[in-house]
């Protein structure tokens, strides 16, 4: 019922044009190796400042959906995944290309991606009102537990070094305390600079860390390789459509799997792709199983439906709890905040109509993506010919003007320069960037809810232990913080025994 009204809200040619533009941009961004979904959404976030909420958010959602799918194009044609999430697609995709079935592989990828999006958005539509309803009764101690849980996933997105991930997180939390204290308005670490009173806006920091520093890294790689534009050797022949019906069970299963993985904070599209791929292989019949990695269409279907399933899944905790599960979700959260929508349990009360219009828009985005993917594939293979030098320049110019557009002042532009340079050195030394952004978003929430809770309890920490939901969330947070350490401990012990 509500969803129907949502579709009516889309009946505006401008919205549809923006959706198509978003998906197109997304596919282009995703198909270029080195450009990720996170960078794409961060780069175009400032573009939405002047727009209304629905068109602005749908443009970014189009980019998000499109770029996750777009990653499969370079993976299939060149064996270089356009995004980390497409690495699983490359295994069977490139094998099919070598067998002359590039066109079939590309079409399987786009249909599986569409499947993944639609199923995961349907899951989002059914689950998120329920989850928001439960969370509606949360007060300060529970909200603190939630923020802490959101922060605890830093350990699972830390990458190679847990300590470095945690350091990035804590530095992010400290940066988040700059500016006026949310409870007493006392200016902290402002050095008497009025520009620092509001604290650091996390959007320019994100642009700096995810776009500018990536551009520097691309430039460095370019200097090392000195390679010209990539060559697409594969010819796009006919599609073997008769394969498709056989793939539907795999696509459906992987879509659900991807959606569920997407809901879990900390597990992103790359994890979903590999888990779905492994599951599809595990449940395959004997002769079929041996074909995985050698050009099995099911491998592409599973990986693509799985990584695309994350898109809707990741929106569940993001919208209903205000917790971004990965870097793209964090950027999307920024997009909502810019539009004056605060994701969290109240979102269906304060912006219910808007939510259903967005859900409807996401379903349309998925369909648009399939159509564009099927019709435009020749165009997207041409994108791979765009010289890297031009890409790097465009990214830096867009970052600059985008940062300026946030508040119409140059301070934010200097922030992207600083964050870009710092982000470059962080990456060189193995410090992940996403924990900083998560900390900037969840830090203020954690701090103010913690202090609010202690005001409620007149200073007694027992309030966190006696309220069952708060206690459970805090326990979960501690558990998820130490999971990587426990996993490592048991692995080491097993290895020593074996």
């Amino acid at each position: 019922m509500n969803l129907w009204e949502g579709f009516l809200g889309l009946a505006d040619p401008m919205i549809l044009i923006l959706l198509v533009t978003g998906v197109l941009l997304g596919v282009i961004i995703g198909s270029l190796p080195g450009l990720t979904a996170t960078m794409g959404v961060a780069l175009f976030l400032p573009v939405t400042f002047g727009m209304e909420a629905i068109p602005g958010l749908l443009l970014l959602i189009g980019i998000y959906f499109g770029s996750i799918y777009g990653g499969s194009i370079a993976a299939i044609l060149l064996n270089t995944p356009g995004t980390p999430a497409a690495a699983a697609t490359a295994m069977d995709g490139y094998a099919m290309t070598k067998q002359g079935e590039a066109r079939t592989a590309l079409n399987i990828a786009v249909i599986a991606s569409g499947f993944g999006s639609i199923i995961s958005v349907l899951m989002l539509i059914f689950l998120s009102p329920q989850l928001a309803n439960i969370a509606l009764n949360f007060s300060a101690p529970e909200m603190f537990g939630l923020a802490l849980f959101g922060l605890s996933i830093i350990s699972s997105i830390a990458g190679a070094s847990l300590v470095k991930g945690l350091i990035a997180g804590v530095v992010g939390l400290l940066i988040a305390t700059i500016g006026m204290d949310p409870m007493t308005s006392y200016p902290r670490y402002t050095f008497d600079q009025p520009v620092l009173l509001e604290g650091f806006n996390f959007i320019p920091i994100m642009i700096g860390l995810f776009a500018v520093s990536e551009a520097f890294i691309m430039a460095e790689d370019y200097f090392k390789e000195k390679g010209g534009p990539m060559k697409v050797a594969a010819r796009l022949l006919k599609t073997n459509w008769r394969l498709m019906p056989k793939l539907f069970p795999t696509m459906t299963k992987s879509s659900f799997l991807g959606s569920i993985i997407g809901i879990i904070p900390g597990a992103g599209a790359d994890v979903a792709a590999f888990v779905s791929y492994n599951e599809a292989q595990r449940f395959a019949k004997k002769e079929d199983k041996a074909l995985f990695g050698k050009g099995n269409p099911k491998g592409i279907a599973a990986a693509e439906a799985g990584n695309q399933g994350v898109t809707g899944g990741a929106m569940v905790p993001l919208l209903t709890l205000g917790i971004p599960g990965d870097a793209v979700a964090a950027v999307m959260l920024g997009a909502f905040v810019v539009q004056g929508i605060q994701p969290g349990p109240q979102i269906f009360q304060t912006s219910g109509e808007l939510m259903y219009t967005l859900f409807a828009g996401m379903l349309v985005a998925a369909i648009v993506m399939v159509i564009i993917g099927l019709l435009g594939i020749r165009l997207f293979t041409k994108v791979l010919l765009v010289p890297k030098t031009l890409m790097i320049t465009i990214i830096l110019v867009l970052s600059t003007i985008g940062a300026f557009a946030i508040n119409n002042n140059m301070f934010d532009v200097y922030v992207i320069l600083g964050a870009g340079i710092i982000g470059y050195f962080m990456k060189k030394h193995g410090f992940p960037a996403s924990p900083i952004v998560l900390a900037l978003i969840l830090g203020p929430m954690a701090e103010s809810e913690f202090r609010r809770a202690l005001t409620m309890s007149e200073g007694s920490l027992m309030i966190f232990a006696t309220r069952p939901i708060a206690a459970t969330l805090i326990a979960l947070a501690i558990l998820s913080l130490f999971t990587p350490l426990l996993v490592k401990f048991f692995k080491d012990r097993k290895n020593r025994k074996g």
Binding site: L174, M183, T184, F216, E220, F223, I421, G459
Partner: protein, 143 residues
Amino acid sequence: MKRLHANHIISLLLLVFAATAFIMAQSFTVSSGAAPGPAFFPQVLSVLLFVLAIILAFQTPTDTDKRLNLNVVFIMIAFGVYVFLVEPIGFVVSTVIFTAGYLLLLGERRWYFIIPAAILLPLIVSYSFEHLLHVPIPHGLLY
């Protein structure tokens, strides 16, 4: 004592950062009843960072290519110059210079590629932002 490596230097920087943050927070004295005041969170975090920085110092860095590529330094400086030119001389003119300069710096030598790019990129971007998205852009002295 092993050789000084990257983690030692980073750790030292973080220790100084954490200590400074802690000491500065000492002056955040505003009473907020029974609940912790504005200094509480920053101080807890500074202590946490201090401990993590010490742990970092005892870890051996992973062996990757850590040599600073001089080309990348030029790339960063050129972008920095551009960023600081945007306000005084204007977005469009500075982007023309930046695009041409950057493509040259990155090793592009085809003039029939550089010139159209340096003209079209600033025009398309400034037109889209100003007229399609209604976001003002800085024009400075020269436009």
